[in-house]
């Protein structure tokens, strides 16, 4: 082992490096007074607001501090944001599970809105009391404004002047909250606080972390999900390569599993070692050595996994005699049986897809004498702590996690498999290690969005509306694979509601309705991905509604309006989208409309969405020109970041609808990079027209809600334009070809 470090001499003055001190973790500066778990105030008046939710692009870095600062009556120009961890206040519960500090399920603003308002108000309350004491007046004579407490005589004390005294006063658990008419930040389209750092290169992502004494690792994983390392043939030569410190075999990890260690009963046990990494001074040295490493893997017990087999399983699931009933209302089975000749049936299919965040997964870890510190793009602090603690045998709280900015995640970076690999590498070499997956490793060892197939059957009444509907979704069950505690147990078996999310829980008028799921378990690592099961389920459901409306010869908007007549909030978004798009005024424009009420886990929120996709003729076919998106998100804390989620969410969904497909052969994923797993480009991005409806409801979830209606609305528009039904995602490339 000879750490020959390569030299890069800077002749002349030193270059200005971006600040690589990760602005997170640790304690507030000594001179700051901690007023609550969330708020520290310096004597200078600078206010530091704690951010518990990782910033993955959704805008929490701005919107959540906005809530705190508003109730605090802070001067927004003097606010700083700091990622925080380690306190119970930072944990939220998503469903029936222990509270966790993580970003996910579009839950951050909904879950924290009340908590942050109370924290801000409690801090304002002690500042007012501290001022009242100082002036020796009644608190009723004191008010707060923009970083000052002001008394009846017009005298002012700054929050900085009062911080020391306020920090000593007991906090009220029920401080008076502002009347919402007095909000001065909440509801304002404030610029994002992280924009400047993201435009000058100074924002620190996981891949940018540097810690003293750090080495770098590059990794190669068995192609097959059940494969393992069988031989490393040239380790001695590799160790002689410049900068190389070690070749480390890495233990396989439970598949994307927060129910740690629990295996699916129908799946084989995982192999012992499924990856190897080379640790070197520099990443480029590790990468070169990895390229030269002669390592052999086997395929393991599921080496014959292939897309052909997977799709055959899916078809069998769709045609199975019986599924697991998620919902049954009226007498759907009897009606469909009695009127078999009149049954309308459609089948749908969509594949596994990869998250493909632009920042490939990576982590920096330091293992020393059983204590672990981690730096990196971590979407769930709690899941990371628990997994590391389980792996090294320490308490979860002893694992220190420093969260950087996340270069995209979409659910991927909740699963800390890459963190555990960095920890193993650090343990092996006795120094901090940053492990970066190549794009190929990131894509071929993702925790994929599961596949799904749909079989939908219906009989219409004499007016053309659904009398009886059977909706069956088959596929690899997400909850069955990674979240068994969320399965609903029925006499027919376990039901995974995420497979039918957006079907069973909508307010369409369906007198006789049967919703079923069929699990087709696979040895493929899967996990939650932005909008989860709804991307599949709503595509199936809304496309089936499109079919029924067409059979009934009723306008698509009118048909949905009729079926949703008892849900005024649904009608509001549907009407808004239709009106904005000029529905019914078609000239040479083709439109499609779709609706979904996105319901938060455990029913925590309801965000209403309707979208109209508009196509226009171009030289060689059709193009998506505009997408109208009407939403009722409750109170929009920051309309600027909310609009950004509409714009980006629709673009993200277009990638899913038009491009994303992971196929499998020889036990592993076939796609490896953006040439065979392409993303939407700017030339394919339509104009987005957001219509954000005012609402008296508190903030509802938003990060995932606009995705699901995109594909069915687009499919419907293409159906109008070309007469072709699209029942497989991604849509074929020639779907945009004009009708001859």
């Amino acid at each position: 082992m000879s750490p020959v470090s390569r030299r890069c001499v800077l002749t002349g003055a030193a270059l200005t490096a971006a600040s690589l001190i990760v602005p997170i973790g640790g304690r507030a500066a000594e001179s700051n007074y901690e007023i609550t778990d969330w708020i520290a105030i310096a004597p200078s008046g600078e206010v530091t607001l704690g951010l518990s939710q990782p910033e993955v692009g959704q805008g929490s870095y701005t919107a959540l501090p906005q809530i705190l600062a508003d109730e605090l009556d802070a001067d927004w120009q003097r606010v700083k944001v700091r990622f925080v961890t380690g306190k119970a206040a930072y944990k939220i519960a998503f469903r029936q599970e222990p509270p966790a500090q993580k970003e996910g399920a579009s839950m951050s603003t909904t879950a924290l809105f009340g908590r942050l308002r109370i924290a801000g108000a409690a801090a304002r309350d002690v500042l007012i009391r501290a001022a009242a004491q100082q002036w020796n007046v009644d608190v009723a004579q004191c008010r707060s404004e923009n970083g000052f407490i002001i008394n009846a005589r017009g005298e002012r004390l700054s929050y900085g002047d009062l911080a020391a005294a306020a920090a000593k006063l007991p906090l009220r658990s029920d401080p008076p909250l502002k009347d919402k008419r007095r909000f001065h930040l909440i509801g304002k389209p404030l610029p994002r606080l992280d924009t400047v750092g993201k435009c000058d290169g100074s924002a620190v992502f996981g891949i940018d972390v540097m810690v003293p004494g750090m080495l770098n690792a590059a990794i190669k994983t068995a192609r097959a999900f059940t494969g393992q390392v069988t031989a490393i043939k040239n380790e001695a030569e590799i160790l002689k390569m410049p900068g190389v410190h070690a070749v480390v075999k890495l233990a396989a990890l439970a598949i994307a599993n927060e129910d740690a260690g629990v295996q699916h009963p129908q799946l084989p046990n995982l192999p012992r070692h499924n990856a190897v990494c080379v640790v070197a001074d520099r990443f480029w040295q590790a990468n070169r050595a990895l390229d030269a490493l002669d390592v052999e893997f086997d395929g393991g017990v599921a080496a014959d996994l292939s897309t052909v087999k997977i799709e055959a399983m899916l078809e069998a699931g769709l045609d199975a005699e019986q599924g697991v009933t998620a919902l049954e209302r009226g007498e759907p089975r009897q009606i469909l049986k009695e009127r078999a000749a009149a049954v309308i049936e459609r089948r749908f299919l969509l594949p596994h897809i990869a998250h493909a965040p632009l920042e490939p997964v990576n982590a920096t870890a330091s293992y020393k004498d059983g204590a672990v510190e981690v730096w990196g793009p971590v979407q769930s602090v709690s899941a990371c702590q628990e997994a590391v603690a389980h792996a090294v045998g320490c308490a979860a709280d002893a694992v220190e996690v420093n969260v950087t900015f996340l270069g995209g995640s979409f659910g991927r970076k909740i699963v800390p498999d890459y963190v555990l690999q960095a920890v193993q590498a650090s343990k092996a070499v006795g120094r901090p290690v940053k492990l970066i997956r190549s794009r190929e490793e990131d894509m071929q060892h993702d925790v994929y969005r599961p596949n799904a197939g749909g079989r939908f059957r219906a009989v219409l009444d004499d007016r053309g509306y659904p009398l009886a509907v059977q909706a069956r979704v088959a596929g690899q069950s997400l909850f069955g694979a990674v979240r068994k505690s969320w399965l609903d147990h029925t006499p027919e078996g376990a039901c995974d509601e995420s497979m039918v999310d957006g079907i069973y829980n909508q307010s369409y008028r369906l007198p006789h309705f049967l919703v079923e799921t069929v699990d087709t378990p696979l040895p493929i690592p899967v996990y939650f991905m932005r909008s989860v099961g709804s991307t599949a389920a709503v595509f199936f459901w809304e496309s089936f509604i499109t079919e029924l409306a067409q059979r009934a010869n009723i306008d698509q908007y009118a048909y949905r309006r009729n079926l949703l007549a008892n849900d005024p909030l649904a009608l509001r978004v549907l009407d808004a989208a239709a009106q904005a798009s000029g529905w019914g005024t078609t000239t040479d424009t083709f439109r499609g409309i779709a609706y979904n009420c996105y319901i938060g886990r455990g029913g925590r929120f309801k965000t209403y969405v309707a979208e109209v996709v508009e196509l226009a003729r171009i030289a060689d076919g059709l193009a998506v020109t505009r997408v109208f998106c009407a939403v009722d998100p409750g109170l929009a804390v920051n309309p600027n970041t909310l609009r950004a989620q509409i714009e980006g969410g629709i673009g993200f969904a277009l990638t899913t609808a038009l491009k994303s497909r992971i196929t499998f052969a020889n036990g592993g994923a076939e796609q490896s990079n953006f040439f065979d797993y392409p993303l939407l480009g700017i030339d394919e991005m339509p104009e987005i027209v957001p219509i954000v409806l005012p609402s008296d409801r508190p903030p509802q979830g938003f990060g995932e809600v606009v995705l699901a209606p995109v594909a069915p609305a687009l499919a419907q528009a293409l159906l109008h334009a070309t007469g072709r039904r699209l029942d497989v995602m991604p849509f074929p490339e020639d779907a945009f070809r004009s009708r001859a």
């Binding site: 002749t11 270059l15 480029w284 920042e359 673009g651």
Partner: protein, 150 residues
């Protein structure tokens, strides 16, 4: 023999293998981490820098190709983020996760140096960087805005 070049106006020298990608020399030896690694095959553009003023994908550019040339990274595009593209990007709040944006800004700056007032078709043709958050609506608007700020 060492490769000698300039980064953000300062002389730099690298005596490792000459085929090491410029991206990693800049990130790991010069500690300038604003340029990102995304795909390693020159497709996504997260690693975009200017080499003698032109946008280049540096994850596939051997460092030897920078010999004697002037490399500009996002950190050196301007002092205090004052390049018109950075100003427009900030004004319109373009970034979401932000990971691709250094490369996007460098690509847009290069585009504007060749097309001071680009059409939408110019943008479609030239801006081939990828953004997984799909911030393209604001990227397009910000390029048009930057053209006015210049």
């Amino acid at each position: 023999m060492a490769v000698k070049f300039f980064v953000n106006g300062m002389p730099a020298e690298f005596d490792g293998p000459e085929e090491v990608p410029l991206l990693w020399v800049v990130r790991e030896h010069l500690n300038l981490t604003g340029s990102k690694f995304g795909c390693g095959i020159g497709l996504c553009g997260a690693c975009t820098m200017h080499v003698d003023g032109t946008a280049m994908r540096t994850c596939i550019m051997p460092v030897m190709m920078a010999q004697g040339r002037h490399v500009t990274t996002i950190e050196g595009l301007s002092h205090n983020g004052e390049h018109p593209v950075q100003k427009a990007w900030t004004e319109l709040d373009v970034p979401q996760c932000g990971y691709c944006q250094s490369g996007m800004i460098m690509a847009a700056a290069s585009l504007l140096s060749r097309h001071p007032d680009p059409s939408d078709a110019d943008i479609d043709r030239e801006m081939t960087n990828l953004c997984r958050c799909a911030t393209y609506v604001r990227i397009r608007a910000a390029i048009h805005r930057a053209a006015k700020l210049r």
